[in-house]
């Protein structure tokens, strides 16, 4: 196969997600009362970036053929933490940032340790750790409140040069700093290999355990970055169970829309980011068409249902019925 065709086949999911996002965003901004202005883009970017971070976190774990049902809770926990710590003088704020991101890393590492070294099923283990993280969040913020360094918050949620949303730039930087090195490293490839076929990867001497552990740990970090940005947007911390759960759920939807295989070993965080942005835009379409916001959960649920059912088209390519069963 020629190089570019191989590349196309590999990136098909990502490109599809990009296409869906472009079409949806065109419909969205075309029908928005304010039209395609810097303000509309900034608001949309700020909302979409939150989910994009959580979706990136989910991608890292899904690539290893696992799942992290605690990402939403890490997101909530770090939001509550940031509302205490990321405040005050420059030095105090910097310390707060490190503490919040460190907490995310530790949460992810705990998930990874339990799943990989404790040999528990990711679903059950991360539901249980999610309960712990939510409990901690509730301990930090029994009632919503707190505040954040507003200069930093305004800087990171505003616009550069009056047009470029700062949150999008931040997302881009995180991709460059976290995702690109990870996916090109030996351990990143080990994570892919472990998701593709753990036995084969093991037989080939790939460091699957370290690769998977790194994936879970970085997932915690990315969820924490998401939590940090939530604090920047809202200026408060809130231990909301429903919102944490919703982010977990939407992250899975975004990952699926972004062409990441839930069976592991296939897809990229870039795809998941476009999946997240597309999912958010679709959800917001209701507003520009003046529907009752009451319908939004149902609408998002149906999109989710359709998105996950799309994978079923692969069944038409099955030649032998035994391939139904993995």
């Amino acid at each position: 196969m020629k190089d570019w065709r191989y590349w196309l086949a590999e990136q098909r999911g990502t490109l599809l997600a990009f296409g869906i996002f472009i079409v949806m965003f065109a419909i969205y901004s075309g029908n928005h009362p304010a039209g395609f202005t810097a303000n509309v883009v900034q608001t949309a970017a700020n909302k979409g970036v939150l989910l994009a971070f959580v979706a990136m976190a989910q991608t890292l774990v899904v690539i290893t053929a696992g799942i992290d049902l605690s990402v939403g809770m890490i997101f909530t926990l770090t939001n509550c933490m940031a509302s205490w710590l990321v405040i005050g003088t420059g030095l105090e704020t910097a310390f707060g940032l490190v503490a919040v991101l460190g907490t995310g890393l530790v949460c992810g590492a705990i998930n990874g340790a339990i799943v990989i070294y404790g040999r528990l099923q990711p679903i059950v283990a991360t539901i249980a750790t999610g309960a712990v993280y939510f409990g901690l969040a509730l301990l930090l913020r029994p009632v919503p409140g707190g505040s954040v360094n507003e200069d930093l918050a305004d800087f990171l949620t505003g616009r550069f040069f009056g047009v470029v949303p700062a949150s999008l730039v931040a997302l881009f930087v995180v991709v460059l700093v976290v995702w690109v090195p990870f996916s090109r490293s030996e351990l990143g490839r080990a994570a892919y290999a472990a998701g593709s076929s753990e036995t084969a990867a093991y037989m080939s001497g790939v460091p699957i355990r370290r690769g998977k552990f790194l994936a879970y740990t970085l997932a915690g970090l990315l969820a924490a970055i998401g939590g940090l940005f939530l604090t920047f947007f809202t200026y408060t911390g809130e231990a909301a169970y429903a919102s944490g759960n919703a982010y977990t759920l939407f992250s899975i939807a975004a990952v699926v829309l972004g062409g990441v295989s839930l069976f592991g070993g296939k897809g990229s965080a870039i795809g998941a980011i476009f999946g997240a942005l597309a999912f958010r835009t679709i959800g917001d379409l209701l507003f520009v068409f003046d529907f009752d916001p009451l319908w939004q959960p149902l609408f998002q649920g149906i999109i989710l249902l359709i998105a996950v059912s799309l994978g079923a088209f692969a069944l038409f390519r099955v030649r032998n019925r035994l391939e139904w069963f993995l």
Binding site: I67, I114, G118, R119, L120, Q121, I123, V124, A125, I127, A128, T129, G130, A131, V132, F134, G135, L136, A137, L138, L139, P142, E198, T199, Y202, Y241, A242, N245, L249, I252, A253, V256, L262, F263, L294, W295, Q296, P297, L298, F299, Q300, G301, I302, L304, L305, A307, V308, S309, G311, A312, L315, R321, L322, W324, F325
Partner: protein, 328 residues
């Protein structure tokens, strides 16, 4: 009951109990420990009234966990429990608002809605081959969306029917709450189905290796579909009972049942990978979880502490005996 007497009793028990996992014995041992710890905090912890009350509370979780166990035995999972529970409760209460016919049909209608959710799950898992974890999350979201639209985002105003309240809080046999009897009946039925029918054998077979079960001539897709439908129906029935207990349905009333139902099944020694597990273990898991919750509330632990202890205990117990075999 200690482990030694359990062993003594076990030799006189039917075969399916004697073959029980060591995990089941561990779960029962943990129950004994919890009872002892609880009795340190409160004298009345070991009184028959209190224990019966615990059993009554456990029976709601027991009904829901029964459906979950059936699905877990297949090697799948049902994450649509929260809104299947809420949908069952809300729809049963809603039906009650439509005159005497509605009142009479409230319970079956609530369960039917749960079965519908389960059928969607089942079609997705069995026929479209979507991972159960994903499709059940999606149907959960759709069920939530439907209920939000129906109730307008508020707690529904309809209240439970007399029959629902009777099932959840009444006494047919003096001293034994109806809810416990219902759980016992459902438990007996599921034990019969799992151990004495070809459907039950097929469930274990599919859980071990679906491909092999398919090649043995089992219509595996139908079995999976039925199992998910039953799970949805039982979740909704649990919701109906809960609505009867609280006299009405509420938003997010089912959220508190997802983790406990999975935990009860897994702590009871049922393999999350499917194909292995006994109902006795699930009973032990349900009682264990209920006692744990009860002790935490007796200790007046705030919600935050409860969530933390809860998650830690579940991880700890799973690390004790729920680990996957070492690879290779």
């Amino acid at each position: 009951m200690s482990e030694t007497t359990l062993g003594g009793i076990a030799s006189r028990m039917p075969k399916f109990i004697r073959r029980a996992d060591p995990a089941v014995a561990t779960a029962f041992a943990c129950i004994v420990i919890l009872l002892l710890v609880g009795s340190l905090y409160s004298r009345s912890f070991l009184s028959p009234e209190y224990l019966l009350q615990q059993l009554k509370v456990a029976s709601f979780l027991g009904v829901i966990a029964t459906g979950m166990m059936l699905v877990v035995l297949l090697g799948q999972i049902d994450l649509s429990v929260p809104w299947a529970v809420a949908t069952g409760a809300m729809m049963a209460c809603a039906a009650a608002a439509y005159g005497p016919v509605g009142v009479a049909l409230a319970i079956p209608f609530g369960m039917l809605c749960g079965v519908a959710i389960g059928v969607v799950n089942g079609i997705g898992v069995a026929y479209l081959r979507i991972p159960s974890m994903i499709i059940t999350l999606a149907t959960n979201a759709v069920a939530q969306g439907l209920m939000v639209v129906y109730t307008g985002g508020f707690s529904p105003q309809d209240s439970a029917t007399a029959a629902m309240r009777y099932l959840a809080t009444g006494f047919t046999i003096p001293g034994v709450p109806n809810a416990v009897i219902i759980w016992a009946l459902i438990g007996a039925a599921i034990v019969f189905v799992l151990t004495r029918t070809s459907f039950g054998r097929a469930v274990y077979g599919i859980g071990n290796r679906e491909r092999a079960a398919y090649l043995s001539g089992i219509d595996t897709r139908r079995v999976v579909l039925i199992a998910f439908a039953v799970s949805g129906g039982l979740s909704a029935f649990g919701g109906v009972l809960l609505a009867g207990y609280a006299s009405k349905a509420a938003q997010s009333m089912g959220d508190a049942y997802l983790l406990p139902s999975i935990a009860a099944v897994v702590l009871g020694g049922t393999s999350i990978l499917g194909g292995r597990g006994s109902y006795l273990g699930t009973v032990a898991g349900v009682i264990l979880i209920t006692l744990l919750q009860s002790i935490l509330s007796v200790m007046q632990m705030p919600e935050a502490g409860r969530q933390i202890i809860y998650g830690v205990v579940i991880v700890a117990m799973l690390l004790l005996y729920g680990r996957a075999p070492a690879s290779r």
